[in-house]
Every structure is written in structure tokens, then in C-alpha cells.
């Protein structure tokens, strides 16, 4: 392969995902936002004036930043011990716990609302806390959703850190905490920042949680965009807010990118997970106890409450809700069909998101010698994360006005659903692959080059095997994101072919004990699916590094 052909290949690798995002994200969202700046005759900034002269907007902006920041910090504080306990220690039940903490990530918000609402209501199990409809309940639910993002992103990196670094520190007489602060944490910094920026983006753009648990008392930029778009069709105001949202997201990404590039260092990663050690109370007790407390109190209680309620109908303990799922006791509702639709859609979305994510990760992990090249890559990487920070309603309405003419009249097409979900999953895929690639010791690459390997050989023999080890997590995230995705899907939903979250939403919207019970049972089923997905993803490792 000549140098020129090699260059061309990289350009193509960057162009394919870029084209995908341009068509299925930037164009629809951009088109809708542009409509907001045009009143039919001329360009106008009236939307900004109107929106920013309202106190409501400033309150929403403040609450968005405050709740997302609080969620991010809490997720880190709770998630780091979780990553340590679940990825550095081995103990019976670890696999189950790893899969279990990922479950909340895909639950439909409407089910989470029911679960949390039931706990926090004045007469609920935690009613004495007086948190019903409070900001605290919103943050708690956001942590509930995002905890696993930190645990997994940091944990997979941590598992592969060379333990000898820390051992050297200990040998030289440093206390465990000091070893952690001076050796381990700096090595983990890129993964920590990566996870933090994801959590920040997820929580600053969450709609359902704020709506359901905030009981219309709290507003974020995201809920304001929904309100202006869907209730008032005030595209000008919504566009002004969408631009504001983009600015916040871009700023957050820029900050985390800056921090990451200054902190990333090459690490000698273990070829596979060799560093799990049997539990030692003195060293791991605190982390394990914290993790168990989070798993039981924050993740377990709402989920157990949901499962417990799903086993009741009309106040009687029964399996009727589950047998009802199988026998389609409700007209026009088939949960099994929805399950099939969800699985097919999730497979398709994963098949789109993972290859694209691999391309993006490979391109973004290049190490150009010129500063401008490095800058360009940082911008590129940020661009792929933007979909996380843009309102689903903006993209959803954008689809309606853009992908509407042959050859691309996809509005009523089932193809658009996995595509939209892939757009949402892509940032997660990229973020779960990148830290591993970036951490490859450059000496390893240089040595290969000195020994006469072509860049292609280096890619094939060094980088791809490293990448492959992050692939399980990436596939798991992509599949789980698609399973639980509701925001964008709801704009593209086909009433005759609903996905599981759409069906749950619909069942919860109907009166009658049967509908309610089946909605609970279907939510539990979705939770189970998420757990199974993540458990399988854990095992998705290429054969040559299998440890069993």
C-alpha cells in the first residue's frame, strides 16, 4: 500500500461516519433550527430575544447545569468505587452484579417514573424522606440511569492497567490512598473524563425523568424545547434554545477534550484481564460496601419495587400479568411481537453503530505529529458526540421535514428507527473504544514500525486486537441503548409495529388493571433483557484473549 493510498483510506474511514451523521443528524436538526430563524420573509433573531427575556428560560438553564453537574459528580463519587469493586476484585456473584448495574440504563422513563414515584410518594417506602417531586429525586433518578456508564467505562480500563505500577508504589512505602491518587487515578483520567462527559450530556438532555419526577415544577432546556415545539409550535423559541443547548454541549465537550488530551498518557495495558484479585477486606472493603449499597438502595429498590408490583393484579399476588403478556389478553397489543421488533431493531442499530464507531475511534486515535492535525481530530471526535446533546424532539421534527422526498422519503419507513437509534448509540460506542486505543504504548507501535511492519500491519496486529477487547462493551452499549431508546423512536414509531419501550408507554397510557399490569411486566422483561445483553457483552471477547 502506498503512502497516498493509505492516506486516502483514512480519509474514507473518516468520511463514511461523517456522511452518515450529516444526513441522519446534522441535516434534520439543522433544518428545523434554521426554520426558527426565518419567519417566512426574512432572517430573524426574534426567537432569542423572546426566549431570553423570560425568567423561565434562565431558571431552566440554571437547573439544567446544576442538575447535570450534581449528577456527574455523584456518578463519579459512587462509580469509581464501583469500577474498582466490579473490575479489580474477583468474588462470587461479580458477573451478576456487573450485569445488574447496567439494567437501569435501558428502562423506559415511564417505568422509572412509576418505580420512583411509588417509592417516594408520601405513603411510599421512602415517603418519610419528603422527596416527592423534588430536585433531589430528579438527580437520584439521573444517577440511577448513568451510574453504569461510569462503572463500565472506567472499569474496563482499570481491569487492564498494569498492576505492577501500583505495586511499585506500595513497595516504595506509599499508603494505598496515595497510590490511588498519584498512580492509579492519573492513569485512569482519560476514561474518567470520558465517562463524566457522557454522563453530563445524558443528564443535561434528559426529558422523561425531569417531566415525570419533576411534576412540571422543574424545567430544563430540554423540557423547554419540547414544550415550545410540541405544545406551542413556537419553532423560533425552540430554535434559540436548541442553539443554546448546542453551545453548552460543545463547551462541555471542549473542556473534557482539553482535560483529556493533557492527561492522557500511554499505558502498558495488560493483554487481558489478569489483574482481578481475590477480595481483601482491608483493601477492598470500602469500595465493595459502597458498591453494594448503591446496587441495593439506589438501583435495587426501584427495580425490586417494579418487579414486586408486576407480580400483583388488583392487589393479589399473581403471575397473571406475565401469562397475559404471552396470551395477548388485550386487543391490538402483542408484547411478543414488540419484543421481536425491539430485538430486530436493536440488532440493526448495533450493526450500523458499531462499524461506524470503530471507524471513528480508529481515526480519532491517530497521533499526527502536527498540532493542526491533532486539533482537527479533537474537533472530529467532539462532533460525533453532539447527537447526545441535541434534543430528541429537534431531531424527530427535523426528520419529518427533511427525509421526506424520494429517494429518501424515510418518514414512514421502518429503516429510520434503527438509524436514529444508531445515531444515539454512536457516541457511546466511540467513547467505549477510544480510551483503550489511546492507551496503547507508542513504543509498541514504533517497535513494530522499526521492525519493518507497514502501517497496515501495525493496525492489524497491534491496534485491532486492542480495539477488539473494547468491542464487547461497545456492542453491549449499542444494543442496550437501542433497546431502551424512546425519544427519537417515538417520532418514528409505527403503531402497528411498536418497539418494547413504545409499547410500555402505550400500555401505561390505557386504563384498566390488565394494561397497567402488562406495562409493569413488560418493563421488567425489558430490564431482564438489558441485564442479559450486558452479561453477554462481558463475554464478547475475541478468542485469542479468552481467559477461560
Amino acid at each position: 500500500m502506498t503512502r497516498l493510498a493509505w492516506r486516502a483510506a483514512w480519509v474514507a474511514a473518516a468520511a463514511i461516519p461523517a456522511a452518515f451523521l450529516a444526513v441522519f443528524f446534522a441535516w434534520p436538526a439543522g433544518a428545523l433550527i434554521l426554520r426558527g430563524f426565518h419567519d417566512g420573509d426574512a432572517w430573524t433573531l426574534a426567537g432569542f430575544e423572546a426566549v431570553f427575556s423570560s425568567a423561565r428560560t434562565w431558571r431552566a438553564l440554571g437547573f439544567t447545569l446544576a442538575s447535570a453537574t450534581a449528577t456527574t459528580l455523584l456518578c463519579l463519587v459512587l462509580g469509581l468505587p464501583g469500577a474498582h469493586a466490579l473490575y479489580r476484585c474477583s468474588f462470587p456473584g461479580r458477573g451478576f452484579l456487573r450485569a445488574a448495574v447496567a439494567v437501569p440504563f435501558v428502562l423506559p422513563t415511564v417505568a422509572v417514573g412509576v418505580a420512583f414515584g411509588a417509592l417516594l410518594r408520601p405513603d411510599g417506602l421512602l415517603g418519610f424522606l419528603g422527596l416527592d417531586g423534588s430536585a433531589v429525586s430528579i438527580v437520584a433518578a439521573m444517577v440511577f440511569f448513568n451510574y453504569s456508564v461510569v462503572v463500565r467505562t472506567v472499569g474496563t480500563m482499570w481491569a487492564r492497567l498494569d498492576p505492577r505500577l501500583a505495586q511499585a508504589g506500595t513497595t516504595l512505602g506509599a499508603a494505598p490512598l496515595r497510590v490511588f491518587a498519584t498512580v492509579t487515578l492519573p492513569a485512569l483520567a482519560p476514561a474518567v473524563l470520558s465517562a463524566a462527559s457522557l454522563v453530563f450530556l445524558f443528564s443535561s438532555s434528559s426529558y422523561g425523568i425531569v417531566m415525570v419526577l419533576g411534576q412540571t415544577r422543574f424545567h430544563t432546556i430540554e423540557t423547554e424545547i419540547w414544550y415550545l415545539t410540541t405544545a406551542l409550535l413556537d419553532l423560533r423559541g425552540a430554535a434559540a434554545l436548541s442553539v443554546t443547548q448546542l453551545v453548552i454541549v460543545a463547551a462541555a465537550l471542549w473542556l473534557s477534550g482539553r482535560a483529556q488530551s493533557s492527561l492522557t498518557r500511554a499505558l502498558r495495558l495488560q493483554p487481558d484481564v489478569a489483574s482481578s484479585r481475590p477480595l481483601r477486606w482491608r483493601r477492598d472493603g470500602a469500595a465493595l460496601v459502597t458498591t453494594l449499597a448503591v446496587a441495593v438502595l439506589l438501583l435495587g429498590l426501584p427495580l425490586i419495587g417494579l418487579a414486586w408490583r408486576s407480580l400483583h393484579r388488583d392487589g393479589v399476588l399473581t403471575l397473571a400479568n406475565y401469562t397475559g403478556l404471552a396470551s395477548s389478553e388485550l386487543p391490538g397489543i402483542s408484547v411478543l411481537d414488540a419484543l421481536g421488533t425491539s430485538l430486530t431493531t436493536a440488532l440493526a442499530a448495533t450493526a450500523i453503530a458499531v462499524p461506524l464507531g470503530v471507524l471513528v475511534a480508529l481515526v480519532a486515535s491517530r497521533r499526527p505529529r502536527v498540532r493542526s492535525g491533532r486539533r482537527a481530530l479533537a474537533v472530529l471526535e467532539g462532533a460525533y458526540l453532539l447527537p447526545l446533546g441535541v434534543s430528541a424532539v429537534t431531531v424527530g421534527f427535523g426528520y419529518l421535514i427533511t427525509l421526506n422526498r424520494p429517494p429518501l422519503d424515510l418518514r414512514s419507513s421502518l429503516v429510520l428507527i434503527p438509524i436514529a437509534q444508531a445515531v444515539v448509540a454512536l457516541p457511546l460506542v466511540v467513547r467505549s473504544l477510544l480510551p483503550t486505543l489511546r492507551a496503547i504504548d507508542p513504543r509498541q507501535l514504533e517497535a513494530a514500525a522499526v521492525l519493518g511492519s507497514t502501517p497496515f500491519d501495525v493496525l492489524r496486529r497491534v491496534e485491532l486486537p486492542h480495539l477488539a477487547r473494547g468491542l464487547g462493551l461497545a456492542v453491549g452499549f449499542a444494543f442496550a441503548t437501542s433497546l431502551g431508546e424512546f425519544g427519537a423512536t417515538s417520532f418514528l414509531a409505527r403503531p402497528d409495529r411498536p418497539t418494547l419501550p413504545v409499547l410500555v408507554f402505550r400500555l401505561f397510557g390505557r386504563p384498566g388493571a390488565e394494561s397497567y399490569g402488562q406495562a409493569l411486566a413488560a418493563s421488567v422483561m425489558l430490564a431482564g433483557l438489558a441485564g442479559i445483553t450486558m452479561a453477554l457483552a462481558e463475554r464478547l471477547r475475541p478468542r485469542e484473549v479468552a481467559t477461560w
Binding site: 450529516a22 410518594r121 412540571t216 409550535l233 430486530t344 434503527p418 403503531p495 401505561f508
Partner: protein, 346 residues
């Protein structure tokens, strides 16, 4: 600018199609006047009819029918307005009377009168649209709770603001839910210019506002499956038919607090298959569909002589005199009312 993107996108779409395998789709055909062999039905996300009936319609007409539901009832008309220059489909079902006059004023509909419309009460009629079903949005009470607490069940809007009913009422927001908007319209119809003061008195009396019907009915309401602590909830006049305990219902609707919701179907302006759109509207008015509307969509069938479920006649009566607001008024003020409500209450 657009053409290279389009080409590229077409290529990507093909790739995506290939990737999707079994989730193959119908490509839309190029426009020909009056009738094509495909029909796209645009509805809201609560549209449910038995699959057998939908299959039967497709078989009888020979159309390949696609159903899309790009949102809830509240956003349906907005989406049609947004996509006027490239319609979402041929026929729409689910436009309600809060949005009906907006839809015809914006020119998103084409005229169509179904032969079956003769059997429909003239009071439900709207410009360019065909009524399909209707129902009442009313405050519901948990009768058992009131029995237990030896308290009279409230009857009117004014009762709800009285001190003995403090902290008992939960409603869904007019800004985010369709029944919430109906209740706001009921207060406007009943109180005229004083509607916002009335809401203020409800708020002072411990009103709880939540995002959607589901949260209100299943989380905060003490009746039905909710284990909540509020025995008064905003729901439908038909809800008591779903909370039966033997031969009585544990809940009741307050029939003096109702706003009537009518759901319409219409031919979309610029439809590729207007003939098919008309056939679909006739189908919605056919006896097979009208008779299953109650148990599928919890509404009353619009065609007057349709048989109702036995439980309904007993437990789900309609309001004698629902509160009304003129459609033109709703059209002119809807957004302003929602905004005022949001600033003051939400």
C-alpha cells in the same frame, strides 16, 4: 447543495436497507393522481384497532397500508402543518376538537364527506373533518375513599376549590398532556375570563400537577391500581368502567366537570392516494370498527346506533351537558392559554 447529499444519502439508505435484512420496508411510489396501491395512515400514539380488522381493510382494498404515529394527539396537527409541502401521508385520524379548526385554517386538509356520516350526531361535525369517536374528560373520584372518610364526593368545579377537599386533587399538565388541555378548556368554558383565578384557587387548595395521565392515574390516584394518596384525579368519563369490583365500580366520574373531546379523521391535502384516504374514513365509520372502538380506544363511537358494551351503559355514562368552548376561540387562544397557565401554575 442538496443533490450530492441526497445521492449520498440514497447510497446510505441502501446500505442501511441491506443491513436491516428482515425489517424490509415499503418504498413510496411516485405520485400519480387520485389512486395508488399504497396508503399511508397518520395517527397519534394511542391508535389501536384489532389487527384482523386492519388486515381485512388492506385485503379488501388491495392497498399496502402503512401506519405512522409521529407523536401524541396534541402534536399531530402541528406535524401536519410543519410538513405541508411534503405530506406525511394520505389520511389522518386523531385530530381532536381542540385542534380541528387550526387544521382546516392552515390548509392541511382536503374536503371529504363520507356516505356513512349521515348516522352521526350533527353536534359533533367540524369543517372538512369526519367525526369518528368522542368521549368526555372529567374529574374522577375514588368512591371507596370518600365512603371510608365519610366525606361527600364533590360534584362541581367550584367544589374542588373548597377547603374540605384540600390536597385531594391531581391533574395532568395542559402543556404536556391531552386530557390536561381538555380540563384547561373546561375551566375556560365554565369560568370565562376568571379561569386563571379559578386555577389559582385550586393551587391554593393543594392541587398537584403532574406531567401525564399515567403519572396522575397510576401513581398519585388512590383508586384503580394506583396506591396514591389523592382520591380525585383527572381522567375520562369511561374510566370507571375499568375499575369494576363485582357489579359495582370503585370509582366514579364527576359529570359536571367534563369537556367533550371529539376525534376526527380527514383526507390530507396533497395526498397521493385521496381515493384510498376516503375509503379508510368509510372503514373507520363501518360497523365493525365503530363497535370495537370502546374496548380499543376507550371512546364512544360517533355513529349513533352502534351497540355499546354492557358495562359502559352502566358505569361510563356521558355528561348530559359537557362544558363547551367555541372552536374558533380555542384556535385563536390555545397557545396563549397554555402559556398563561404555564407562567402562573405550571
Amino acid at each position: 447543495m442538496k443533490s450530492p447529499i441526497r445521492l449520498l444519502a440514497a447510497g446510505l439508505a441502501v446500505t442501511a436497507l441491506a443491513a436491516c435484512g428482515s425489517t424490509g420496508t415499503q418504498a413510496t411510489t411516485s405520485p400519480t393522481p387520485t389512486e395508488t396501491d399504497t396508503l399511508t395512515v397518520v395517527t397519534h400514539d394511542s391508535f389501536v384497532l384489532p389487527q384482523e380488522l386492519l388486515d381485512q381493510f388492506a385485503e379488501e382494498t388491495g392497498y399496502t397500508v402503512t401506519y405512522v404515529a409521529p407523536g401524541d394527539a396534541g402534536t399531530l396537527v402541528n406535524q401536519l402543518i410543519l410538513t405541508k409541502d411534503s405530506p406525511l401521508g394520505d389520511v389522518v385520524f386523531g385530530i381532536d376538537n381542540a385542534m380541528a379548526s387550526r387544521a382546516s385554517r392552515e390548509g392541511v386538509l382536503a374536503d371529504y364527506t363520507s356516505a356513512a356520516a349521515a348516522g352521526i350526531d350533527a353536534q359533533l361535525a367540524a369543517d372538512q373533518l369526519t367525526p369518528v369517536d368522542y368521549g368526555d374528560v372529567c374529574i374522577n373520584a375514588d368512591s371507596a375513599w370518600f365512603d371510608k372518610h365519610d366525606l361527600e364526593v364533590p360534584a362541581t368545579l367550584d367544589d374542588l376549590a373548597r377547603p374540605e377537599y384540600k390536597d385531594l386533587l391531581v391533574v395532568s399538565s395542559p402543556a404536556t398532556s391531552s386530557p390536561g388541555l381538555s380540563f384547561l378548556l373546561a375551566t375556560v368554558g365554565a369560568k370565562g375570563d376568571g379561569w386563571l383565578d379559578y386555577w389559582q384557587s385550586l393551587k391554593d387548595n393543594g392541587l398537584k400537577v403532574v406531567a401525564g395521565w399515567t403519572d396522575a392515574y397510576y401513581t398519585d390516584f388512590s383508586g384503580a391500581d394506583g396506591k396514591g394518596d389523592r382520591p380525585l384525579v383527572l381522567s375520562y368519563s369511561t374510566s370507571p368502567a375499568f375499575t369494576l369490583d363485582g357489579d359495582t365500580s370503585t370509582t366514579e366520574a364527576l359529570l359536571d366537570t367534563c369537556f367533550r373531546q371529539v376525534e376526527y379523521a380527514g383526507v390530507i391535502a396533497g395526498a397521493q392516494n385521496p381515493v384510498g384516504a376516503g375509503k379508510f374514513i368509510d372503514f373507520l365509520l363501518s360497523d365493525e370498527v365503530q363497535s370495537v372502538i370502546p374496548e380499543n380506544m376507550y371512546m364512544y363511537p360517533a355513529v349513533t346506533d352502534t351497540e355499546l358494551p354492557a358495562d359502559w351503559q352502566k358505569f361510563a355514562p356521558l355528561a348530559e351537558t359537557p362544558i363547551e368552548v367555541a372552536p374558533a376561540d380555542i384556535d385563536a387562544n390555545r397557545e396563549a392559554w397554555i402559556s398563561q397557565w404555564s407562567e402562573a401554575i405550571g
